[in-house]
Amino acid sequence: MGAESPEDHTLGMRTAAWLALCVCFVAACGGDAELSALEVRRRAAALGPFVPEGFTTAEVGAVLTCSPVPPAPADPTNKFADDPNAALLGQHLFFDRRLSKNGQTACATCHDPRDSFVDLDPLATGVLQLERHTPSLWNVAHQRWFFWDGRADSLWGQALIPIESPLEHAFTRSEVVRVVSEDTTLRVLYEGVFGELPAMEDKRRFPAWSRPVPQNDHAHVLAEEHAQRASEKGNDERPSRSHQHRTEEGATGSDWIHPHQRAWDWMHPVDQQSVTRAFVNVGKALAAYQRKLISRSAPFDVFVEGLREHDPEKLAELDAAQQRGLRLFLGRAQCASCHHGVLFSDFEFHDTRVPGEPLTDPGRSRGIEAVRSYEFGVSTKWSDDPEGPAREKVDFLPVHVHAGREFKTPTLRNVELTPPYMHNGSLPTLEAVIDFYADRANVAPDTGGGERILAKPMDLSLEDRADLVAFLKALTDDSLDPTLRARPE
């Protein structure tokens, strides 16, 4: 036998503590060794959490705020949120490429379940390339805001934006409803949950490719820029004009009306409402499916169970480096300032001076403007609880928006599986992210709104940085039910 290592010693101490706890339990029961697992947990909880060697009581207290991930919170704005048939319909739709202009783009194109529901590219590409990175969908039902700039305030409202964005699906609400209407499986599922679909077969009442086209919408502006660049490159194949919403060669800008808008204007207002209602229901079905994308059984979660239950086997789920990384994460490295709670995110927005293009992206300030006027916001008539508590987060948004390029704090659950990182995918690895925050060597220009705690480099050794990365990898749980990873049979 060699000399006892520090790790062996620590484990030995833990085992001794656990055995002592069990002895206490048995004694308290008058020698009855048949304690249920629940009773053991109850009594361990009554003793307070275990404090591993090297941790303080306060650090353990902070750790306990990060696990377990509770069930998805109720969403009163979507009364179908937990309807299994709505979720099944949503799962069909999530993988359906027909819901796009090119017939090749589904939600799952960027949120590819084979790659942990992202695409692993720096920037997302739908019908055209976007200016931001595909965000993670893990535990998405817990999010407060959606998109990197929070321009949607519900999961069902979020799901509708990419479908009509000229950059992403470049589709229309009328065609979404038509696809559902003409597919027997989708139609049966839809009408079983939501009721009768509009009579889309009447193409005079419901003309093809119709939607209200938003004015001054940023996605349309970007689409126009794509078209302009393609034109400047001398492509013989002219870019599609349906990306544009105001201008056209040979026409005065203000006179031109987008063909989707023309078709929409042709429809009777009652039919417009019925199509939009069905479109909203599609968003609610997509949300019901995405609520099932749960990750809550990472090694870190087992470790936290071990703290609560005084269980040495569970505590051993994090090795020494990961435990050091956890303490750094909570303390000196200051990660937990923004990355806290069960998703390791405050769900809010910060300017950390992320490098890379586009530096003109204003982030949250544009997102606030957009969410206030969003057609499918939680306080609109399309919500199932327009006067409910969900609207408060919007009601109290600041009138005076912060300076800076603020973007949403991403969740860190499964972060190992979702490279590259940041809103623009500018950092390729977790190591690069840690170096960025530690060294502050390649920060974007100061807008005056940056997080001040990041103003100076941090004193983090190479070992510290490796420990932080090791801890982040302890947040990986990709054990989702395989049947949720593909279009249903």
Binding site: A45, L64, T65, A336, H340, F349, G449
Partner: protein, 160 residues
């Protein structure tokens, strides 16, 4: 920079208060942990059981404030109960004010990402809605009262 160094510790210490109270705020103090409590994450925040009292910079008003429910959570929307009185011996209630609460994190260079609004309840009492302190750490709390068009500010601070 003392606040900067102490901010993460402040988060942890305030969290420890919650854990010591049963993991779900002061209301659960002394409760026997059951299966549901065992499975719930601890709640971060600061228990503020008794109203805090501060006097405005100009010495005209006493402002007392306390989070509704006695707990200021980290990153959950909450409300404040505020009372406003003159600094006379009778503590005369001031009921015709506007109360504007502004919280800042000097170490971080920013404040709240919400703009709370107040409602006068009469007899010098006000309800402030829309509070959200989205991060742990040191927060300054400016209680601005506007009476007959003239603003006065009372300053306080908490470590979440």
């Amino acid at each position: 920079m003392a606040h900067l160094r102490s901010a993460p510790l402040a988060l942890m210490l305030s969290t420890a208060v919650v854990v010591a109270c049963g993991g779900s705020g002061s209301d659960d103090a002394g409760a026997t942990p059951g299966p549901q409590q065992v499975e719930a994450p601890a709640r971060a925040g600061l228990a503020i059981g008794a109203p805090r009292e501060v006097v405005t910079r100009d010495g005209l008003y006493r402002v007392t404030w306390v989070p509704s429910g006695g707990f200021a959570p980290v990153n959950e929307q909450f409300e404040l109960d505020v009372t406003l009185a003159r600094t006379d011996d009778a503590r005369t209630p001031v009921s015709n004010a506007s109360v504007v609460v502004d919280c800042q994190m000097p170490d971080h260079g920013h404040g709240m990402l919400r703009e709370p609004r107040s409602e006068a309840l009469g007899d010098g009492r006000y309800k402030v809605r829309g509070m959200l302190l989205h991060m742990g750490g040191h927060w300054t709390v400016a209680l601005n009262v506007i009476v007959d068009g003239i603003a006065s500010t009372a300053d306080d601070a908490i470590d979440l």
